[in-house]
């Protein structure tokens, strides 16, 4: 019996070493459209940006006892605390309602400052750890780390893009955009998307195209015959806008026109083809298919 218990302890490392398994937690900014686990420069700096934390705790709280959660953040180099003094929370301590719980309205800016992010306009992204501490009976005595997770303050911005060409179309402009060269302060290169802006040369409301990957991005719904000024902007994964590209136009190359397609040109010039299936072809194809069939039958004959 004692041997079985020893084997069991060896098979479960946490039990053998007297450790507890930590749960997991994610956070999503909810005041703007944002992917789980990241925040932009604007959301980092804003005092109104809020996030929802979703935790799966390794500890099942006793609701009747008044158990609480404390939410904390820390730089990834430090990591979540497991012993010693209970870290400061980024939000008020929350009444625990279960091992799986969703906690809304956590201020994003406090998440950043508590983790030691001094500036939301740094050139590089800042990864932090989310830490959820279990407070038995709401007391700071006997606290335990109940869940931890990762979060990224995506602070880098993309470099100034380059417009390599503009092709006018019918009520649209197709803009060829390439990523610019990174600098010391414009470092974002992964998952960068681009938007293009087409503004009437004589002034007026700009039309935006994208976001899309580097390549051709289209401004649609433009006015034929109007020359536009075209610019492009890069967006990082979290939506940080970089510097705007140099402007192209207004010129004839940035003027949408009702261009004719090949078929329209051909027919407009008096081309005789009428489209549809050929009239003389079906009759000609039938004997050919019959010949193929005849030869195949003949080959099989002994």
């Amino acid at each position: 019996m004692r041997r079985r218990a020893a084997v069991l302890l060896l098979l479960i490392p946490g039990l053998a070493l007297g450790q507890t398994t930590t749960g997991s937690v994610t956070a999503q900014v909810t005041t703007t459209t944002q992917s789980v686990g990241q925040a932009s420069r604007a959301e980092c700096a804003s005092t109104t940006s809020l996030a929802t934390w979703n935790l799966v705790s390794s500890i099942t709280p006793v609701v009747a006892n008044g158990d609480k959660w404390r939410l904390g953040t820390v730089s990834t180099t430090t990591g979540c605390t497991t012993s010693g003094g209970l870290p400061t929370g980024v939000y008020q301590d929350v009444a625990a309602t279960g091992a799986t719980q969703s906690i809304p309205s956590v201020p994003v800016n406090t998440m950043a400052t508590t983790a030691g992010i001094s500036s939301c306009t740094q050139a590089n992204d800042q990864a932090i750890n989310l830490c959820v501490y279990y407070l038995p009976g709401g007391s700071v005595t006997g606290w335990q780390l109940a869940a931890q997770g990762d979060f990224n303050f995506q602070l880098a911005i993309p470099p100034k893009p380059v417009i390599t060409g503009v092709t006018p179309g019918d009520s649209q402009l197709s803009v060829s955009v390439t990523a610019g060269t990174t600098t010391a302060t414009e470092t974002a290169t992964k998952s960068v998307t681009f938007t293009v802006s087409c503004t009437p040369g004589a002034g007026g409301t700009a039309v935006t195209g994208g976001p899309g990957n580097a390549g051709n991005i289209t401004c649609s719904g433009l006015t034929n015959g109007t020359a536009y000024t075209v610019t492009a902007t890069g967006l990082s994964a979290a939506g940080n806008g970089g510097p705007t590209s140099d402007a192209t136009g207004p010129s004839s190359a940035t003027t949408p026109l009702p261009f004719s397609s090949f078929w329209e040109v051909y027919k407009g010039d008096g081309g005789v083809e009428t489209g549809g299936c050929g009239t003389g072809g079906t009759g000609a194809l039938a004997p050919a298919l019959a010949l193929v069939g005849l030869l195949a039958v003949r080959r099989r004959r002994p």
Binding site: L257, F259, S261, F262, W263, Y266, G268, G278, L285, L295
Partner: protein, 249 residues
């Protein structure tokens, strides 16, 4: 002792012999062929516009010849000591991209928007390949001739998909269809087996490919619904060359 040594040697040799395929010199029965080819292609649509300043095809797509890729599958219908008559079918793909145009009031031609002409050539064909030179004298060339009935399934598109044009009388013409015609080909295949007969036999043994040819041919064709006055000419104006590989199995 000597007998024991011989038995031991045989015992060692047998597994190796069992693993190595015995490649027989007699080739497997032939029953067909497959080929894939590439050919620079440009339809002679502008033949309708002999005196035009801006003939539509050349103005929009240029004078280049984008590659047409084609595959053919044939069944051997008649095999003799002189050669083989194959019958079968084929399909391919070709497209050309260009920019549309807009004629300004001062007559200036402005370019913009993208437009495309796409052709899927489908055909049935009969090919006679003269194999006598190679079979009799081991000269690694096999001339061939081919006749085909073709159907070019085509589509033109602009910025908003398949093009359409409405005449001043209000009749709409959709820019897609199929045009029939004929093609005649003369070519020669270089028998690659000649250069490595061992590999050739191995291919026959492993996958049943009796012969591999690198071919080069010229095709003259006419694809205008056999002279219909309501059809354009989708065949090139020239003898179109193509190059490819043929596998006889």
């Amino acid at each position: 002792m000597k007998k024991l040594l011989v038995l031991a040697a045989l015992a060692l040799a047998l597994p190796a012999a069992a693993q190595s395929p015995v490649i027989v010199s007699k080739e497997s029965p032939r029953w067909g062929s497959f080929q894939i080819s590439l050919s620079p292609f440009s339809p002679n649509i502008d033949s309708e516009f002999a005196n035009a300043v801006f003939p539509p095809y050349a103005t929009i797509f240029g004078t280049g010849r984008p590659l047409m890729v084609q595959g053919q599958f044939n069944m051997s219908a008649w095999i003799t000591e002189f050669g083989t008559l194959d019958v079968g079918g084929g399909v391919g793909y070709w497209e050309a991209w260009g920019q549309g145009w807009y004629q300004a009031t001062d007559g200036t031609l402005l370019r913009g928007g993208s437009t495309k002409l796409m052709i899927i050539p489908v055909q049935v064909q009969a090919t006679y390949r003269w194999e006598w030179f190679y079979e009799r004298f081991r000269v690694p060339f096999e001339p061939y001739v081919r006749g085909a009935i073709v159907d070019y399934i085509w589509s033109t598109s602009g910025q908003d998909g398949v093009s359409s044009w409405t005449s001043p009388e209000g009749v709409a013409y959709r820019g897609s269809g199929a045009t029939f015609g004929w093609a005649a080909t003369i070519g020669v295949g270089l028998v690659l087996d000649f250069f490595d007969t061992g590999l050739s036999r191995q291919m026959d043994y492993d996958v049943g490919i009796n012969r591999t040819l690198l071919f080069f041919d010229f095709t003259k064709s006419s694809v205008n619904d056999f002279g219909s006055k309501n059809s354009w000419q989708l065949a090139p104006s020239y003898w179109a060359w193509s190059v490819g590989l043929e596998f006889v199995f």
